[in-house]
Symmetry: C2
Subunit: 328 residues, 2 copies
């Protein structure tokens, strides 16, 4: 029930995902049952044996403080969906609801993996090279160096399991190349990452280097991560708009350029949703403005996470990484 | 002597500026005299009566710590040029040298305006609306709320004098709309700005809103400001590159679109250099990669700053603004 046009994009995206998935994968739609069924009726040829609907009559409001959602909105799709996962009835949860609410409910219901102080939201950014996983992208502010060092490990495993990178290059978002550059957080985090034998740390990555694809995992405090992410989305739209205006002004002589194809690399919906990493389960958070394609891709991503055993790998990595050991 | 191709862009930019300026404006080139004269010889019709050359045989190296430049490199163009201004022989200083060195030398030689704790580097960003002055854009990290509140005042006066905005809208870069959003720095800065009668504070501005031109002055810690600025420059280049590749792939049917014209709004060299605000004088810092056009525009900007009396206005505003009063 999280997208702006809910539940239409959720339903259409789910049907798209089911069409691409093996027969042994089932999806359960958790939401206002009447609204969901009404949407389903608009589509023919529904694989009912692989598609369940569970009623969640309540809804998280924009002004609900995230920390109160589990208690105050037990019948929302967020809380009911996550409880299904905690109960082992499903393996993963996808939502386009409020990031804060999904995160808070996931922490409470799924719990954190042992040793993780702050689970992080990762976002895959398109670059001129391979895509880069940025984390944290908005869930955690006022981070300490140990939090960023933990994000690096969470991203390392995600990049291995989900982006297919054997030895992920981990970069630290910073404002200069040398180790001594940046604010106190960046300087101390640099020291931690450089001394971590479990990571392939490639050093500081400046704002202008992100787009070059110099690393597979980019670690940052959620404040700067969120600013960067939202700016990226909007600036791509802005530049494409400039171009479209210019092409339209050319009138009849406009080229047969398929702008959508040219800029497909910038289309976030290609990448599905943002994983919440560090909880004991799979939570994928989608944009409120997600089109069906983004929902479909988020579901495919959730399935791949489960099949890859990502959460088990995370737990194993954390157990061996010094940044996750509880201080004596 | 600061650009990558120094002193060629400096010389050509200076001649361009002189061609556009009134006869009563003179420019003094401070640098390696032989190299400068050799460049000048490549150009005909030099207005020698308005163009001086002062030798500065030494050069700031990339590995010189900024704080040491005044003492160790007294014969560099940065130090000699700024000393000319401190002595009243010139009214403004333009350099494409290292930002850290230019800033440190400006603080030492020109001194801070009374009450200013941290002078800030402002950068004018193109948006879909009017351009926005972002400050700080990299000179100050680990800022405290009072620093950001001071940046707001520095930007307020700059926007009035240089961007022609009578009542500049001041925004705070943040990761949510509501006052309680963001990290500790953003929350406390929001409180200070909201309670400041000398500013027209329009509230938090999120990453995705920057490009909309919702404010004239955007206040941020230099860490996030620098990441944003450098990312903006690179992402614009990246997207334009995607498009050019696609157009080239179209071959003969490519349109008569002048990409440079379409994206002129994104061309930083149109905006000249970045002012260092809060020192007792005019310092404009240019990109190391500045083409002659950027140098020309930075000189024109310096002249406008002097003619507008910006430094005097800053001093007057600071004297009345509570955020600049020395705590009792």
């Amino acid at each position: 029930m999280g997208t702006d046009g809910a539940p239409a994009p959720e339903v259409e995206g789910t049907l798209g995902a089911l069409g691409q998935l093996d027969d042994d994968v089932e999806v359960i739609l958790v939401g206002d049952e009447d609204a969901v069924e009404a949407q389903l009726e608009l589509h023919g040829d529904i694989p009912r044996e692989r598609l369940g609907v569970i009623d969640a009559p309540d809804r998280v409001r924009a002004d609900d403080p995230p920390a109160t959602v589990v208690r105050r909105r037990p019948d929302s799709s967020i809380v009911r969906g996550l409880r299904l996962q905690a109960a082992g009835e499903v393996d993963a949860f996808v939502s386009a609801g409020s990031t804060g609410a999904v995160m808070a409910a996931s922490l409470f219901i799924l719990r954190r993996l042992e040793g993780v102080e702050r689970p992080a939201v990762g976002t895959v950014l398109p670059t001129a090279g391979d895509p880069v996983l940025l984390l944290d992208s908005g869930a955690n502010v006022d981070c300490k160096p140990v939090h960023l060092a933990q994000f690096a490990h969470l991203g390392h495993i995600y990049a291995q399991d989900m982006l297919g990178v054997e030895r992920p290059r981990v970069g630290l978002l910073n404002i200069g190349e040398e180790p001594g550059k940046g604010d106190e957080l960046a300087q101390e985090t640099h020291r931690l990452l450089r001394g971590d034998p479990g990571l392939h740390f490639v050093g500081n990555v400046e704002g202008r280097e992100i787009i070059e694809g110099r690393c597979d995992v980019l670690v940052a405090d959620g404040f700067v991560g969120n600013v960067l992410l939202k700016f990226y989305e909007s600036v791509a739209q802005f530049i494409i708009g400039l171009l479209q205006n210019a092409l339209e002004a050319e009138g009849g002589s406009a080229p047969a350029l398929d702008l959508q194809e040219v800029f497909r690399v910038l289309d976030y919906s290609e990448y599905g949703g943002a994983p919440l990493l560090g909880v004991n389960g799979v939570t994928i958070i989608c944009h409120g403005g997600s089109p069906p394609k983004a929902i479909r891709n988020a579901i495919l991503e959730a399935v791949r996470s489960v099949r890859a055993g990502m959460v088990q790998h995370l737990a194993g990595d954390l157990a061996s990484a010094s940044t996750f050991r509880t201080p004596a």
